[in-house]
Symmetry: C2
Subunit: 372 residues, 2 copies
Amino acid sequence: AQAFRILILPGDHVGPEVMAEALKVLDIVEECRPKLKFERTFDVVGGSSIDKHGVPITEEVLDKASKADAVLFGSVGGPEWADASPNPEAGILWLRQRLVAFANLRPCEILVPSLLEASPLKPEIVKGTKFIVVRENCGGAYFGDKVEKPEIASDLWVYKPDEVERCARVSAAVARILGRTGDGKGGGGPAIVWSADKANVLASGRLWRRVTQDTFTREFPDIELRHQLADSMAMLMVKNPRGFNGVIHTDNTFGDILSDISGGIVGSLGTLPSASISGIPGQGRCNGIYEPVHGSAPDIAGKGIVNPVAQILSLAMLLRYSCVLSDEASAIEKAVETVFDSKEAGGLGIRTRDMGGEAGTEEVGDAIAGEL
Amino acid sequence: AQAFRILILPGDHVGPEVMAEALKVLDIVEECRPKLKFERTFDVVGGSSIDKHGVPITEEVLDKASKADAVLFGSVGGPEWADASPNPEAGILWLRQRLVAFANLRPCEILVPSLLEASPLKPEIVKGTKFIVVRENCGGAYFGDKVEKPEIASDLWVYKPDEVERCARVSAAVARILGRTGDGKGGGGPAIVWSADKANVLASGRLWRRVTQDTFTREFPDIELRHQLADSMAMLMVKNPRGFNGVIHTDNTFGDILSDISGGIVGSLGTLPSASISGIPGQGRCNGIYEPVHGSAPDIAGKGIVNPVAQILSLAMLLRYSCVLSDEASAIEKAVETVFDSKEAGGLGIRTRDMGGEAGTEEVGDAIAGEL
Ligand SMILES: CC(C)[C@H](C(=O)O)[C@@H](O)C(=O)O
Ligand SMILES: CC(C)[C@H](C(=O)O)[C@@H](O)C(=O)O
């Protein structure tokens, strides 16, 4: 038997709603696999934590998180805390830093063909797109020293070689798992890794490029590495997203923007999960934070209409990366696809409104749980 | 009679090819308007300057530029100078800094309906898109203090209030000129200004937001200002570009990426001009640098197939912003549209290959000049 301690932080607004559906799915996984035990602990984060404790995350919760095997995170923030300082989002930044969850993985993929409709891109352009953005998550401008005075404000965009190196190792490991064929089993050999930087203007960008290149040359000579300027990358991702099938390896700031472009390409954030991990995939268990790419969506909270799929797929990533349970992860991913592709609603499948469907949050969660 | 001193810096690879066509157009403007005199001076920049002088731009050229009324710039860089330090691109950075060309304007628009085909976006999504990105051009991470050692590298992402304020004034002025109806005459009142930052994580982003808001509240209370996080902006620009019709006001780094997303939306950089200006539009003449958004495209250089339209439209921007000759600028823009829309080539108009046409660089330049 294997036991995993999962810290569950639903957060604000739609956070608890989508979390409830992910937990239904986790219940089923446990039922089907009697040898697996998931110890669930619940706590507050974000605005809910500000209301209760005055800070977006308490030391106690950070401590629990670092002792857990993984953290399943909902979403935080909202207009109520617009003037809070630190803001609810600081909760997630502190958590990333405490767990040294240095690599943020964001898959971009159109899950089933009928979802091509939801994309703003022409179907022939976006069809077959399948890449993962690996964003450095604990360094760069978002974590560098800050100066904040009325007459000047600055953030230090800083990298040391080991920060880039460990992220490069994650990108390489993900490229091996994804494979050229995108089958998630390394089919066709490792996927291409595209490294995005601004080596033409940034000192930190030149370090990024040099250390990435050195790490690949030394440790992963079998993987094809290509360097691309981050600005032209942004353009090409829109023009020809399939051209980047594989892994996009990039720093915190550029990764923030480029991974949101992925959301634009897919057309909806409602299905996009993310993982922030503290170790190298394929080298055993590692702690991590798993959360939807979307935010807390105060405008639709409490209506039972939010799409729970991003949270459910985040749970799948948790099982894959923190628990090394890839069969269970794949089963969830397959169940999501089946539900989207089901014959219901005139062949549109069971989907929430953001995906052109009419189903509610619970209905989608129940269908996915049922499919397992 | 009015005289203008124009410094012409064709640069590398396709630079001289596209410049030749823009100069044809300038000749025609001068012929048609005998009272206008353009004194042309030519010099080298980028790789060509490295080859000749060992630096991407000489003090002498910087000096000439600062004494000119405007600089018409081609494009720089190429694999020959991959290891040059400073690199050819530094030529443009130094030039921006010397002229204090603090606002970079990049219009994004599908010029004629038949160009919808070139966009990767569905026509119903991209149709009617018309915005201008105003990117802060002399501050932020690209110009902040750098540390570059083997064991650490950093760039200081720094802003002072006056840098943000002057850029906000340009954004406001552009919003007035563009107008809600996008007619370039302020029709329907000033366009909306969207300010993009990461105020949720960056100290410099909070300063950006605060100073922008204060400047608008104080000086432009009639203009609608909306703040947006830069990451979600990137996503929404792809999902619904029309939603940002108006002016996008943003810092150097985010502007670099967001303006390249514009290129992705349009589908080709071949028609996109840019202006880097040192004053407020509508408040008289100001020096500026006018250049295509595209690079030096070594792969197609010397073949006579590069699209000269971005350079020609950059000349139109030069006439509008540095010379305050908006009728002449509009005439060039109209001529470009007419040539694209002409009945030739089975209704496709006269276009280069990147736009699905078969015309060469000179043919397009001649057609536009002829149309004037
Ligand atoms: C909420 C914010 C601090 C965060 C980030 O910028 O990292 C978010 O945008 C993300 O991408 O996860
Ligand atoms: C060439 C480079 C320095 C430049 C920049 O990043 O500013 C370019 O990408 C641009 O956008 O004009």
